[in-house]
Amino acid sequence: MTDQNPLYQDIILEYYEYPRNRGRVEDADACCQGNNPSCGDDLTVSLKVDQATIGPVMWDGHACAIGEASASMMTEAVTSQSADTARAWVKTVRAMITGRGDADETLELGDIESLRVVRNRPARVKCALLAWEAFDEALTLAEAVHARPRESTDA
C-alpha cells in the first residue's frame, strides 16, 4: 500500500478496469438513469425482479472511476437479494458515504468498504452514490410495475 493513492485504491482501480455487470438487462422490468448534469456522469441501471428476488441488475454509461467501480459493486451486492435486503444495502452505503442515516450492521461490506474514502470529499459523494440511487429508484419502479403490495422497509 506504500504508493497507493488514498482515493484510487487498487480495489477501486481493479473494478474500474474490469467492470462487472456492465450493459443493459434485456426486457428489464425497470430502467433508471442517475446523472450529475454538471460533470456529465450518466449511468443507467436496469433490472428485473423475479418473485421476491432481484436480478439480473446491470449498469451502463460513463462515470469516474469511483462512480463506475461503485456501480459494479452495487450490482454484485443486490443481485439475488430480496427487495428488503437490497434496500438495506442502499441505506447502508448511503450512511457509510454521507454519514447520515442508519447502516445495517449485519451486512458484510467487503470490497464496498473501499468507497468509504469519498466521505470527506463532497464532490465525490455524488459519484459514489449515483448507481445506488438509480438502483433504488429502478427497484421502486419495478415493484410498481409488478403491482405487488410490498412491505414497508422503513423502521
Binding site: 478496469e17 469516474c64 472511476a65
Partner: protein, 430 residues
C-alpha cells in the same frame, strides 16, 4: 490594512512581468493540500488582485451608502464612485456612452435581460434564433425559453473540425426569419474565437440583431464593441479580476431605449401610481432596486488593473502560454486528446482535453492532491459535449498571472494520473 500602491505592474513592450503581477494576487501565495496553489481554472472565475480587495475594504470602511436617492455626502460620493465604474467599463469595451452600460449580476443575467426584454417585445411565432454549437447554457437556455414562449425556433450554426464556426453553414441558416443571432465570442470549452464582426454584418443584412456572450472574451481580448458590430454584449466581472455578483450588458442606445424594463421596483421608475408607472431613462430603467454598489465600485479597480497592463499584452501572454501548453501536453502525454484548433491567433487560453479511458474527474482529483486546480465536467455546455462525442472533459485555463512552470506542474500531475491509471490507459479507447 497594508498601505499599497494602487497600480498594476506596468507592462513593457508587450510582455507582462508575471512574477510582479503574481505578488498582487494574495491567493497565489497560498497552499492547497500541502502544495503551492497552481490555479488553472480562470475560465470558471479569475483570482483577484489586492487592488480590487482593497477597494472593497475602503468602500465598506469609509464610503458605504445607498446611491441615487439622497443628498448626504456619503451617498453622493458612493453614487459618483459607482458611476465612475460605468464610465471605465464603457471605455474598456469601447461603448460610445456609459448610459449604454447596464450593471447586472453576471453574464447570465445580462443575456436573460436581452432575451426577456428585447426578445419578448420583438420575437414572434415563426421567427428564428441562431446560436452556435459552442454556446454556454447561459447563451442558449434563455433563447430556448423565449422560443418556447413565442413560438419561434432555435437554429444551430455548426463548428468545423477545428472548433471554429463554419461561416458557410452559418450563412445558409440566415434568412428573413432570423431575428436574433446569439454568439459566444470565445468558447469556454474550446477557447475558439468567433468571427463576430463578419457574423454581425451577415446577420444585419438579414435583419437580425446580434447578441454576444463576452463572458470569456472580455477578460482576455482587447475589445471594441463597435468594431465587433454587435448589438448587445454581455460580460461577468468575476472572470476579469473583479468581484462576484457583478455583470454588465452593453446595448445600442436605440435598442435599450425602446425596450421594456426587465426587473421593476425602486430606482428604475419615473412616476408611480397605484396601477401604473413610467420608467426612468437608461441605464436606470434596467437597474431595479439597490444595485451591487460595493462590488461595482471595486470592479473599477479591476478594470484599472487590466488597463494598466494593457489588453494587448494580456492577450499576447496568453497566446504564448497556450501554445506552450498545447505543445508540452501533446509531446509528453501521448494518450491525450486536446480539443479545438492549435492556432492561437483564433483561440484563447483555454485548453480542454481528455486522457484515454480516464474520466476527467479522476484527472482533476489527482491534480488537486498536488494543489493543481482545473475543471472537469461539461463546463455548462452539454450540447457541445455531445458533438465532441465525450461525456465530459478536463479543462485547464490560463490568465495573466500564469507561468509556463505551472504548465509543467500540470504535465507532472498528468504523469501521476498516467501512473495511477496506466493499465486502463493502455487498453483501447472505450
Amino acid at each position: 490594512m497594508i498601505i499599497t500602491d494602487k497600480t498594476a505592474p506596468v507592462t513593457e513592450q508587450h510582455s507582462l512581468d508575471v512574477e510582479a503581477i503574481r505578488r498582487d494576487f494574495p491567493i497565489l501565495a497560498t497552499q492547497v493540500n500541502g502544495h503551492a496553489l497552481v490555479y488553472l481554472d480562470s475560465a470558471a472565475t479569475s483570482q483577484k488582485p489586492r487592488q480590487m480587495i482593497d477597494a472593497l475594504v475602503a468602500y465598506y470602511s469609509g464610503q458605504n451608502a445607498n446611491i441615487h436617492r439622497a443628498a448626504h455626502t456619503l451617498a453622493s460620493r458612493a453614487t459618483e464612485l459607482y458611476e465612475t465604474t460605468r464610465q471605465k467599463l464603457a471605455r474598456f469595451i469601447g461603448a460610445p456612452s456609459p448610459d449604454e452600460v447596464i450593471f447586472t449580476r453576471n453574464s447570465t443575467e445580462s443575456l436573460n435581460l436581452v432575451a426577456g426584454s428585447w426578445g419578448t417585445a420583438n420575437v414572434h411565432a415563426g421567427d428564428e434564433i441562431i446560436v452556435t454549437q459552442v454556446e454556454h447554457h447561459s447563451n442558449l437556455v434563455p433563447w430556448q425559453v423565449l422560443a418556447q414562449a413565442t413560438g419561434a425556433s432555435i437554429r444551430v450554426a455548426a463548428i468545423d473540425a477545428h472548433g471554429l464556426v463554419d461561416l458557410d453553414a452559418y450563412r445558409s441558416l440566415l434568412s428573413p426569419r432570423t431575428k436574433v443571432v446569439a454568439i459566444t465570442h470565445m468558447s469556454n470549452v474550446l477557447g475558439t474565437i468567433a468571427p463576430v464582426a463578419e457574423m454581425s454584418r451577415l446577420a444585419h443584412e438579414a435583419g437580425a440583431i446580434v447578441v454576444v456572450d463576452g463572458a470569456q472574451s472580455a477578460p482576455h481580448l482587447p475589445l471594441d464593441v463597435l468594431s465587433l458590430e454587435c448589438d448587445f454584449f454581455a460580460l461577468s466581472a468575476h472572470k476579469m479580476l473583479g468581484p462576484t455578483g457583478v455583470g454588465a450588458l452593453w446595448g445600442r442606445r436605440a435598442l435599450l431605449e425602446a425596450m421594456p424594463p426587465f426587473l421593476t421596483g425602486g430606482s428604475m421608475i419615473g412616476h408611480v401610481d397605484w396601477d401604473r408607472s413610467t420608467w426612468a431613462p437608461i441605464p436606470q430603467k434596467f437597474e431595479a432596486g439597490t444595485p451591487n454598489i460595493a462590488d461595482v465600485i471595486a470592479f473599477g479597480a479591476s478594470i484599472d488593473y487590466l488597463e494598466a497592463l494593457g489588453m494587448e499584452a494580456v492577450r499576447h501572454h496568453e497566446q504564448e502560454i497556450t501554445a506552450y501548453a498545447i505543445a508540452t501536453l501533446r509531446e509528453r502525454h501521448p494518450a491525450i486528446t486536446i480539443y479545438g484548433t492549435d492556432d492561437t491567433s483564433v483561440r484563447g487560453g483555454v485548453v480542454t482535453f481528455n486522457i484515454r479511458n480516464v474520466h476527467p474527474h479522476d484527472i482533476s482529483e489527482i491534480l488537486d492532491e498536488r494543489g493543481i486546480a482545473i475543471r472537469a465536467g461539461q463546463h455548462c455546455a452539454h450540447p457541445l459535449h455531445k458533438i465532441l462525442g465525450t461525456g465530459a472533459t478536463a479543462r485547464a485555463s490560463f490568465y495573466l498571472y500564469n507561468l509556463n512552470r505551472e504548465v509543467d506542474a500540470l504535465s507532472e500531475g498528468l504523469a501521476r494520473v498516467e501512473t495511477v491509471f496506466r493499465r486502463v490507459i493502455d487498453r483501447p479507447a472505450r
